[in-house]
Amino acid sequence: MKELNSILLKLLELMPQPLAETLYMVTAATIFSVLLGTPLGIVTAISEEHHMWPHKNLNRVLNLLINITRSLPFIILMIAVFPLSKLLVGRRIGTTAAIVPLTIAAIPFVARLVENSVKELAWGIIEAALSMGANTRQIIFKVILPEALPSIVSGITMTIINLIGYSAMAGAIGGGGLGDLAIRFGYQGFQEDVLFGTVVVLLLIVQLVQYLGDKIYKRLIK
């Protein structure tokens, strides 16, 4: 009992800072990647040959871009974007700097999910909007986005969970976070109780995100 207490005390002391760092990195990267990945996904979907805004070459370029970024291992991407991090946040390493590679890794992921959500919509509803004289902008904002929203929300839930996973690697470039805590104390410092505690906390966060995501999804579906 006494031992358990001391473990909890230790975790309470060690945990807050890495937890805050993880939440900070994941939240920021989610916001930026959704803001940038959603338009990319929509344009990729509607620029396909038989969709409402066919632009073959643009579609090819976007697909290539998404595939290339998605095929890069995150640990390498993290180092490869150093110059960009320097340009955007003024630093190559650190928690804020880690948001740059996290965002870049998540953008194509979000784009693919959004693209699929859009392509899953029945063509009939888009055709009906076209028949009423709606223009491309009106169809995107009044038909595609609202109708695909529940499915996009599911995608964002997946993105957040993925980003929690990626953010564990941020420690490698001084980003801190729960992953860093687990590696430094648990793996390198042989403190298995810390390792275990971190795993439990990560598990709880993922469960909570999934639960909230499902809840919002259900509320959005009519």
């Binding site: 029945a122 009906a128 028949s131 009423m132 709606a134 009106q138 609202p146 959005l220 009519k222």
Partner: protein, 340 residues
């Protein structure tokens, strides 16, 4: 008035060139309920989509009130689409908007003011009898109710033409009837021109005043609905009608070798005269009645009779001529037309 002139559409797919529409000519008057009937793959969906340019034809023109819509630029197409409503087999309502928001959609698109939208939505939901479903979502409605919302939506922006793409094909027979009655009422009260495509002859029979039969991208027959039902000329049309008057003709063996079967059609004016008995009285022939049926389309009656005529060939010819003089339509019944 809508005039379709020499309209063709072809495209290339993996099996080569496909001619979806071949030199279509149609004239649809204001206030018509014009039916286009054909089997799936006949080209009817492509044809109806050329009228609001959801499909781009390869050649020909579509004139709406003498204005060729093939010559319109993108901006003008959006404008003309706003006066052409369209409804679909799968309703295509927006699932995350309730009924009133769905009906409001075309009004938002056409930049109506908030007050105008509200008034117009109420008016239209009233017209289709769904005032109490204003705040229901499509998933809470039956198929018939969904189609009613779709009709309200299609008419919201003051359309004067309504295109119906298999609008009743997903509905059960009694719902189909009620939707057709609604379309008929809209046509009558507001003078809206309706063009509908279907594969169901009952739909044509119920509401269309004119009809065209399309097969493999070509119009094979067109005319008033009564003409088409009473005197179908093309094999495809006959197949659609699955003529009841021909039942029993397949198993019939002629009483005299060489005797032919004739199909007689009596239209209104000849349907009430005792033409057959007078023919038999006047001429030395034997008449054997094999099958017959009396029908009516939109209040006009017509009858069909299948008879075997035997006698001297010269007299048989005279007899047939006598029938024709009395406005009975006579044709030799081909073997393929016979049914069980």
């Amino acid at each position: 008035m809508i005039e379709i002139r020499n309209l063709s559409k072809s495209f290339i797919d993996k099996n080569g060139r496909v001619d979806a529409l071949k030199n279509i000519n149609l004239q649809i008057e204001k206030g018509d309920i014009y039916g286009i009937i054909g089997l799936s793959g006949a080209g009817k969906s492509t044809l109806i989509r050329c009228i609001n340019r959801l499909e781009e034809p390869s050649a020909g023109s579509v004139l709406i009130d003498d204005k060729d819509i093939m010559k319109l630029n993108n901006e003008e197409i959006l404008k003309i689409r706003r006066r052409i409503g369209m409804i679909f087999q799968s309703f295509n309502l927006l699932s995350r908007r309730d009924c009133s928001q769905n009906v409001a959609f075309p009004l938002e698109v056409s930049n109506y003011s908030k007050e105008e939208i509200k008034a117009r939505v109420n008016e239209l939901l009233g017209l289709v009898g769904l005032e109490d479903k204003r705040h229901s979502y499509p998933s809470q409605l039956s198929g018939g109710q969904k189609q009613r919302v779709a009709i309200a939506r299609a008419l919201a922006a003051k359309s004067d033409i309504l295109l119906c793409d298999e609008a009743t094909s997903a509905l059960d027979p009694s719902t189909t009837k009620s939707i057709l009655a609604l379309l008929k009422e809209i046509n009558k009260v507001f003078g809206i021109t309706i063009i509908l495509i279907t594969h169901q002859m009952e739909v044509i029979k119920e509401i269309c005043n004119k009809v065209a039969v399309i097969s493999e991208g070509e119009i094979v027959e067109q005319g008033t609905t009564f003409e088409l039902f009473s005197k179908p000329s093309h094999a495809v049309t006959k197949r659609f009608l699955s003529d009841k008057s021909l039942e029993g003709t397949l198993s019939y063996t002629p009483q005299n070798s060489g005797a032919e079967l004739y199909k007689l059609t009596f239209l209104e004016e000849s349907a009430h005269k005792p033409v057959i008995s007078q023919m038999v009285k006047r001429m030395d022939i034997e008449v054997n009645i094999i099958a017959g049926h009396l029908s009516s389309v939109q209040g006009k009656s017509y009858g069909n009779l299948v008879i075997e005529v035997s006698g001297e060939s010269k007299i048989v010819a005279e007899a047939l001529e006598y029938l024709r003089e009395n406005k009975v339509f006579v044709e030799v019944l081909a073997d393929y037309e016979r049914v069980e």
